[in-house]
């Protein structure tokens, strides 16, 4: 009976947890409620994914109002996949946040953090599960507004500036998105995604359709930090509290990718996107620039958080590169990398957060000689770093395989060469860490011997283990991605 309402509950439970936390005010209770909400969402996501695998897409009518007048929540192969990622990361980070945030925020503000965290998670999950374009905007704003505040909670004043920068750019993005949705509504008279997709081909004004596509692309690209709309990301990730960085790095941009995929292939349709506008070529070009430039910039960073932030911009470039290939392998790679990068970056930022806790900062000065003083943290960063490079035996390799396969399959050897060349840049910046941690003497700013607290190390290592596990057991991350890609390209529900 409640199982039938899971598509709604997965969003509603964290949403209700937020005001509950604000009412209770006590920090321990706040964390417990947040964790319970996240765990529930994760369990619900897993159940939904299993259901979709067994029986096909689920259509849930909110309030029993039938679409297209009511709001429909739709769980199919793609949204189930993203749901599992976001809720999983949400739960792991909530576990981590207990010790991490307690060190970064005064005790009487902790409950506010957890309330915002639940709101953000609810927003992201809502964006994923909804089948209504405007409802998506509502959840987009819930997620964005709460993430602006979460970032602003960082220790330094620069966090405030970074949050403000993200707020401006993010609001522009959301506004562009809603203008695009407005145009679509004007032409089709409906806000339900499936319904828009049906009616759009008969819509009168092809120019307006293209304008809607353009607005939505730009709006979502701002959220997704596609070059050149990525400028908010490095500052936001570097100055936010560690748990927030990890959470956002692993989820927020991924959900934006999901929105892009849903609109491109679910609403506008493959033919329109690839033929009327040279979207694949534009995406390819922007992705290539993103990957190369962001990787190179990452190489020169003095701070681990900024380094991995720029690395994220590059990795998002890989995802959009897969989309730009517009082939089955390319889309499989894009969706798989969404997941693989999510767990890899999540692991990395959680571990870096441990360093930041013990050393007060995550700069390279603090990392010298870390191999002896924080051996588990260092080893975890190395393993997750290998996943970032794409060494076989890690999750990152599996999506890189499909990217190269997509490039070679389309005869684009230069693209395959570029993908592997940029992997070497990733090798270079991961190796900067390895040399600093293992081949250098401890510096003045290296923390004293002693690992991060177990409450932080354990969730981080859970994700590190996931990076290795999903490098061998790929039935979920690759199998699920392949199913999602087939769905997007075939239009089969």
């Amino acid at each position: 009976m409640t199982l039938a309402h899971l598509p709604a509950l997965v969003v509603v439970v964290p949403l209700i947890a937020a005001p509950l936390i604000v009412l209770l005010r006590r920090s321990t209770a706040a964390w417990a409620i947040a964790l319970a909400a996240c765990a529930f969402s994760f369990a619900a996501a897993l159940l939904l994914a299993a259901e979709v695998l067994a029986a096909g897409a689920i259509s849930y009518h909110l309030g029993s109002w039938p679409p297209p007048w009511g709001i429909e929540y739709r769980v199919d192969a793609l949204s189930a996949y993203v749901l599992v990622l976001v809720s999983g990361i949400g739960m792991v980070t909530a576990l981590y946040a207990w010790r991490s945030i307690a060190a970064e925020l005064p005790r009487d503000q902790l409950y506010l953090f957890y309330a915002l965290y639940c709101l953000c998670l609810s927003g992201l999950l809502g964006m994923t599960v909804t089948g209504d374009a405007f409802n998506l905007f509502v959840f987009m704003e819930i997620a964005s507004l709460s993430s602006y505040v979460l970032i602003a909670l960082g220790r330094h004043r620069r966090a405030l500036l970074a949050a403000y920068q993200y707020l401006i750019l993010g609001t522009i993005g959301a506004t562009f998105y809603v203008i695009g949705v407005g145009l679509l509504y004007l032409m089709t008279g409906t806000l339900n995604i499936a319904d828009i997709a049906e009616r759009l081909p008969q819509a009168g004004n092809p120019r307006a359709v293209l304008a809607a596509l353009a607005f939505i692309t730009v709006g979502v690209s701002l959220k997704l930090a596609l070059f050149p709309l990525h400028f908010w990301l490095p500052n936001a990730y570097a100055h936010a509290p560690s748990a927030v960085t990890a959470f956002l790095a692993a989820t927020a941009t991924k959900v934006a990718v999901y929105v892009l995929l849903r609109f491109y292939f679910g609403i506008f349709g493959f033919r329109l996107v690839t033929e009327s506008l040279p979207m694949p070529e534009i995406l390819l070009a922007l992705s290539v620039v993103a990957i190369v430039s962001a990787s190179l910039v990452a190489l020169w960073q003095a701070d681990l958080k900024r380094l991995f932030a720029y690395s994220s911009v590059a990795q998002i470039g890989y995802i959009t590169l897969g989309i730009g290939m517009a082939s089955r392998e390319g889309l499989t790679a894009a969706v798989a990398h969404l997941f693989n990068h999510g767990i890899t970056k999540g692991a990395l930022f959680l571990l870096v957060g441990g360093i930041a806790l013990r050393a007060g900062s995550a700069s390279f000065d603090a990392v010298r000689g870390l191999g002896r003083r924080m051996p588990l943290t260092s080893l975890g960063i190395v393993i997750a770093g290998l996943s970032l490079i794409g060494v076989p035996g890690t999750a990152g390799f599996t999506s890189k395989w499909y990217l190269v396969l997509g490039a070679i399959g389309a005869g684009r050897w230069w693209l395959a060469a570029l993908i592997v060349l940029t992997s070497l840049i990733a090798l270079a910046y991961v190796w900067r860490f390895v040399e600093a941690a293992y081949l250098s003497e401890p510096g003045a700013r290296t923390p004293e011997a002693g690992e991060a607290p177990a409450a932080m190390l354990a969730p981080a290592w859970l994700l590190v283990a996931a990076c290795v596990y999903f490098g061998f057991e790929t039935s979920f991350n690759i199998g699920g991605a392949a199913r999602a890609a087939a769905l997007l390209l075939g239009g089969v529900p």
Binding site: L386, I389, G390, V391, P392, G393, T398, W401, V404, L405, I408, G409, W413, A416, A417, V420, L421, S423, L424, L427, W431, E435, Y438, L439, G471, F472, E473, T474, S475, I478, G479, A482
Partner: protein
């Protein structure tokens, strides 16, 4: 135990050994015993698979599906059997030597050293027994990563630089060239399983495509040290000598040439390559590497550097033999993998013994050292014979097959290279033996270099490997049987 269980054991024993060594870190004797037990147990497992393979069986093991349609699986065939035998037997000898070396030189981080060694052997077994390109690639990369801490063992600036060159060349070539080659093979052939006759045989590839793909593979397998991607080998000399012995005889370089032969025989297929002009560059590049590396070896005064370039040269013997694409030469390639391994490990053991006993690293310092270290230099002499290809050393057997293979197909260029290489290797090795035994030591400057032989464990190890070199000359039956089986596949 069934064959499949033995394959699992061959991987599990070194991994378990690594864990055991890590746990026993605080008790050196227990730790060293763990290494020895693991090494002997591994050799036992590998030996257990030998009868099946000699009888024509090909034991298999499927672990899991790593990517849709591609398995993480194992299949023991003659070449893999040979490689595994060489690696596991030499690990025992190398462990005895390492114990002597590490203790005599009071090396730091010994637990890390032995753990990485065990992991490297696990990766080597994975490479030897892999049933498809993806499994091979997985363990190949694992081997690079696991040997990096061994190369950078001493820490400090020199180790860092050497480690960068090492990792840069090996990971660079494998990610830039080998990975696209494997993906392309998958795209073209739809399978990555090693198949007798080659999986690209019926793919209908143009000559140029075959040549290009071959180039990606050959330069992608950086561990085979084909020029110009050979620089990692001399750079790795910054490591302690037991590591160099492992790198240059047992695991890393042999994994490289093993992969080269595997690709030529089981991915392309000897016939596929034989019918294509565009593959003619490979014997040329290999020949060039043989000569060029030998010349650099001649001009190197540092003993380890000379031996490193000798290895670069000798590895290209294997590549050249495989590239000649005749049954005799393919057999020769397999034989040389074994012969060079045993010979070169002897030479490196001797170099390490010399350093440990006398702290001498340059050839010019070695006058008269044979008098003080007769066992070590005697073993060095036998190892040299093997490198040059003279009886009664194992190198003679492989060289004989190589020359036969080249002459019967009238590839006179290859014959010329082989002869020139032989003369050059005599040129850079025999003078060392001559100096050691027939020249008087240079007058010492104040500090009297009164030293004797190296510690007993090291002398035992170097004598065993020298004996092994000679034994393989007199009792080559197992190696010949495996090599012939491989040649029949092609």
């Amino acid at each position: 135990m069934t064959a499949a269980q033995l394959i699992v054991a061959a991987l599990a024993v070194p991994l378990a050994g690594a864990a055991g060594i890590a746990l026993a870190g605080r008790w050196p004797n227990l730790r060293e015993t763990t290494t020895m037990v693991a090494a002997v147990a591994l050799f036992g497992c590998v030996l257990g698979l030998l009868p099946t393979v000699l009888a024509g069986g090909r034991p298999q093991l499927f672990l899991l599906e790593m990517l849709p349609g591609i398995a993480l699986g194992f299949r023991v065939e003659p070449l893999g059997m040979l490689f595994a035998l060489v690696a596991s037997s030499l690990w025992i000898v190398n462990s005895v030597y390492s114990i002597g070396y590490m203790r005599a030189n009071n090396e730091p981080h010994q637990t890390r050293f032995y753990v990485c060694f065990a992991l490297a052997l696990a990766a080597t077994m994975g490479i030897a027994f892999s049933s498809n390109l993806l499994t091979l690639f997985l363990f190949y990369e694992m081997l690079t990563l696991v040997t990096w801490p061994l190369v950078t063992h001493h820490g400090g600036d020199e180790a860092r630089k050497g480690g960068r060159v090492y990792l840069g060349f090996l990971l660079g070539t494998s990610i830039l060239f080998l990975l696209p080659a494997i993906v392309a093979t998958w795209a073209i052939a739809g399978t990555l399983e090693f198949t007798p006759g080659g999986i690209l045989r019926d793919a209908g590839l143009s000559g140029a495509a075959v040549g290009g793909l071959l180039a990606l593979y050959m330069f992608g397998i950086g561990k085979a040290a084909l020029m110009p991607f050979h620089r990692w080998l001399p750079a790795a000399m910054v490591a302690p000598t037991p590591v160099s012995a492992l790198l240059h005889a047992v695991a890393v370089v042999k994994a490289g040439v093993f992969a080269v032969v595997k690709v030529i025989v089981y991915v392309f297929g000897v016939d596929t390559l034989a019918g294509v002009r565009a593959a003619d560059w490979l014997p040329a590049v290999a020949g060039f590497t043989i000569i060029a590396a030998s010349i650099v070896a001649l001009r190197s005064d540092n003993l380890k550097r000379r031996l490193a370039y000798s290895t670069v040269s000798q590895l290209s013997y294997v590549v050249l033999a495989a590239a000649l694409l005749t049954p005799l030469s393919v057999a020769a390639a397999a034989l040389h993998i074994a012969a060079h391994a045993v010979g070169k490990i002897t030479l490196f053991f001797a170099a390490g013994a010399i350093y440990t006993a006398s702290h001498k690293t340059e050839v010019s310092q070695l006058d008269g050292i044979g008098r003080r270290m007769p066992w070590t230099m005697g073993a060095f002499a036998i190892g040299s014979l093997s490198m040059i290809g003279l009886p009664p050393a194992a190198g003679f057997v492989s060289k004989w097959y190589m020359l036969s293979g080249a002459m019967t197909t009238q590839q006179w260029g290859a014959v010329a290279v082989l002869v020139a290489g032989t003369l050059l290797s005599a040129g850079y090795l025999l003078p060392i033996v001559y100096r050691a035994f027939f020249l008087s030591p240079a007058p010492s400057h104040g500090r009297d270099e009164e030293h004797g032989e190296a510690p007993l464990t090291m002398v035992i190890a170097v004598s065993v490997s020298a004996l092994g070199t000679v034994a393989l000359f007199f009792f080559p039956e197992v190696l010949l049987a495996l090599s012939r089986q491989l040649a029949e596949v092609g």
